[in-house]
């Protein structure tokens, strides 16, 4: 794809002495939500962390827009407009919700109407604005992590399993939210929750054992039980 | 950066090396009087024996449980001073050693229980500080009660005649001490083996402890205190328990020290320098690996006694070069020790034994 905002080209990543990624090649088109699926330990998180420069690729190239970010320092990558919501949410427990957000906001100043949108989306954030973040519930932490990613306009947001531990109600709300966010940015989403993924994803890539085993449009995958069973061995009936 | 080491993979080689080295050291110590008959070597060997026990007992705390204590030499000192004071007041005799020693150990135990219950709840660094405080209070006491302790200058005393060079164990034809390979079978020899065997016994005991279920529990507590509690281990009790065990063993080592040296003073037992030595030894050797204690002690002690001679040579060799001889000046040997130490902590956080055995790697 020519309009790719992010391109991974045959990326290999090791962690300690473990070889985790063996040749991930992936194009993320500009705009919309794009999903990375795969079983536990497949290498989804590692992929995101490698893009973000938190693990170093041993081999291969990562290109964001026209910048080669393979060897770039994490902060510089972030400054290019890439936001990251890690698996463990990476919130600062010692800081209040507000301080957490402030750090994510450019120059520490909030864009009011974005803030209002976040409050509408996650009322808990407003409610616990001055609460120390370690005191938030699992889900509230998750919300904070996402809020932090969208408090500024980003070009690309990497999100690792955002629905983990969220109540269905929130998940539903989030689907709408992501749709809205996707208007202005590109989202690369790692998911286990296929229904969530399906509801949002335009394209999908399935990763297994550190390799991409399937790439295509979400519609195609959603439509094709066989594919699903092959790559995701989905057992649960959709509802 | 995660210091992961795959226990399942690299097994024998490194381990074998370590065990080999330790075994060799053990044998050398066992036959020290015959292998290195010169006097200084004797002193060195004895010091190594005692310190192996002391350092290993400290490893129980810092390596296996992640407790950082600066009061370890305090317990060491209690054992030594107990023995010394008894020998001084009651005169030379095994009864004095027995009584004084056991009083010292008792004191150590009581103190350990108090400190443990009082402060093992608080955060690690605070505990380190409290032990530091306790230790320095003890040092002040030692210097204040100079009529008992000899104050700063410490005290000398005589030990049972059985241990004195004059005492012949086995007489030869003309009534002098029988010699084997030129080594006289006299009290001195007896004293050395008293020290050696006691140390050996204590060390083996500790090996057993760390291999026991308790050992694993301690590591678990080190890793994740809250979860250990959640699966049913009373963290505080375990912490206190191991703290006491370590304290008692340290005190016992103190007794050996006092008997061997025939002198006890702050500088050989209580002082912070010794605490530092112990720390260096356990780290260089490798925390959380009993073997490390042995290796660390041997290296450090040899350095303390012989490194200088080496540098002497180096200095004179490089005498005509610019600044090198200055740095190789034997009096600056501590500088090098420090640098080596830093590099070790830097590149082999698991210490020598730890790295070789792919174990420990304490974080």
């Amino acid at each position: 794809m020519s309009n790719a905002i992010l391109r991974l080209d045959d990326v290999y990543t090791d962690i300690a002495q473990y070889h985790v990624l063996h040749g991930i090649s992936l194009d993320v088109p500009e705009g919309g939500v794009h999903v990375l699926l795969g079983r536990n330990g497949a290498g989804k998180t590692t992929t995101l962390r490698t893009i973000m420069g938190l693990w170093r690729a041993r081999k291969g190239a990562i290109v964001f827009r026209h910048h080669d970010i393979t060897a770039m320092k994490t902060p510089d990558i972030a400054r290019l407009g890439v936001a990251f919501v890690p698996e463990n949410m990476g919130i600062f427990g010692g800081l209040t919700v507000e301080e957490n957000m402030r750090l994510a906001a450019a120059h520490g100043r909030f864009d009011d109407q974005r803030l209002q949108r976040i409050f509408a989306l996650f009322p808990a954030m407003e409610k616990f604005w001055d609460r120390q973040a370690h005191a938030l519930s699992g889900g509230q932490k998750q919300m904070l992590a996402i809020s932090r990613a969208i408090i500024e306009k980003r070009d690309l947001i990497l999100i690792d399993e955002p629905t983990k531990g969220l109540a269905p109600a929130i998940i539903r709300a989030m689907i709408d939210a992501f749709r809205e966010i996707a208007q202005e940015t590109t989202i690369l989403l790692v998911e286990q929750n296929f229904h969530f993924a399906r509801a949002l994803g335009e394209t999908v890539a399935v990763i297994d054992d550190g390799r991409i085993v399937h790439r295509g449009s979400m519609a195609e995958l959603a439509g094709d039980e066989a594919l699903q069973n092959r790559f995701l061995s989905l057992s649960m009936e959709a509802h | 950066m995660s210091l992961l080491v795959n226990t399942s993979r690299r097994v024998p080689v490194g381990r074998l090396v370590v065990y080999g080295v330790v075994l060799v050291v053990g044998l050398c110590l066992m036959f020290a009087p015959f292998l290195f008959p010169d006097v200084r070597a004797q002193e060195v060997a004895a010091r190594i024996c005692v310190f192996i026990v002391l350092v290993a007992s400290y490893d129980l705390l810092i390596g296996y449980t992640g407790i950082v204590s600066f009061a370890h030499t305090m317990f060491f000192g209690l054992g030594a001073y107990g023995t010394a004071i008894a020998l001084r007041t009651m005169g030379p005799g095994f009864d004095a050693i027995l009584l004084g020693g056991s009083l010292g150990v008792l004191a150590a135990l009581v103190l350990a229980v108090l400190i443990g219950l009082l402060s093992l709840r608080v955060k690690a660094i605070f505990f380190a500080m409290i032990t530091l405080a306790a230790a320095s209070v003890m040092m002040v006491l030692a210097s204040q009660l100079s009529e008992f302790t000899g104050g700063e200058d410490g005290m000398t005393y005589t030990i049972p005649r059985f241990f004195s060079p004059a005492n012949t164990l086995v007489e030869d034809a003309d009534g002098k001490a029988l010699r084997i390979f030129g080594v006289a079978l006299n009290g001195r020899l007896a004293l050395y083996y008293f020290v050696f065997l006691s140390s050996l016994f204590l060390f083996l005991a500790m090996l057993r402890i760390v291999a026991s279920p308790l050992g694993t529990v301690l590591e678990a507590i080190r890793e994740n205190e809250m979860r250990a509690e959640a699966i049913g281990y009373r963290v505080v009790s375990y912490r206190t328990a191991i703290f006491c065990i370590a304290a008692v063993i340290a005190a016992l080592a103190g007794i050996l020290r006092a008997v061997w040296l025939r002198y006890t003073g702050p500088d050989v037992t209580l002082s912070f320098d010794i605490m530092l030595d112990v720390l260096l030894m356990v780290v260089i050797g490798g925390m959380g690996t009993m073997m490390g204690a042995v290796i660390g002690v041997v290296i450090m002690t040899l350095a303390q006694f012989y490194l200088k001679d080496l540098m002497e040579a180096g200095a004179s060799a490089t005498a005509d070069m610019p600044l090198l001889p200055d740095m190789l000046n034997p009096d600056r040997w501590l500088l090098w020790l420090g640098i080596v130490f830093i590099l070790l902590v830097y590149f082999f956080p698991a210490g020598i034994a730890g790295t070789l055995m792919g174990k420990g790697g304490h974080k």
Partner: protein, 254 residues
Amino acid sequence: MTPSLRTENLTIRFGGHAAVNDVSCAFRPGELTVIVGPNGAGKTTWFNLVSGQLKPTEGRIFKGENDITGLSPSARAKAGIGRAFQLTNLFPKLSVLENVRLVVQARAGQGPRIFTRASSMTDIRDKAYGFVEATRLASVAHLPAAALPHGDQRKLEVALLAAMEPDIFMFDEPTAGMSVDEAPAILELIAEIKKDTSKTVLLVEHKMDVVRALADRIVVLHNGELVADGRPGEVMALPIVREIYLGVGAEEVA
């Protein structure tokens, strides 16, 4: 029959905010209760109170006849209250097997043994291995827990709980972040436990299908208060539940 676990007006406040507010309910053996509620409802906090990580501001907790409100977490664990954590919480540098072995050993009260070699206690080891297999971790049994991917860590979390063999099992979102083909293994395990009628199982879960598949009874928490309690069908039908949980009008959530 007497309830195996009972909380009386259980309340905890953090500052002004009551995370759990006057919750009284009882649980019987052989029953699997799913505790649901929006994020921040107080589920995890309630767990923490029962398993002893937190001390209640008011109220008491009974295991069977005896009041355990004052007991330490370890004491409660010994008393047969077992709990798995929402955010994974393991012994990172110990191997998977060692992790489990520790639990079995605690069960067997072998912790304080000083002079026997742990490795020689094969019975404990074998038993531990059993649990490792049951949770499909055998292949990684010798890896340090830290090296496992998130999903496997969740499984280990469950394995630890199972190994505690408590009378009362408390799972906090056991399948969160577990891929759809992994989850069933855990659910089967829970189903197994449920078969044993002497056990009481409490389960915090958001995934509807899981709830449906397992629940004998559903308790709904909201803003720290118990708002509904009953058979799945009935509870799910309650308007309040539909509103706060299934998210008709998601704005008010949390």
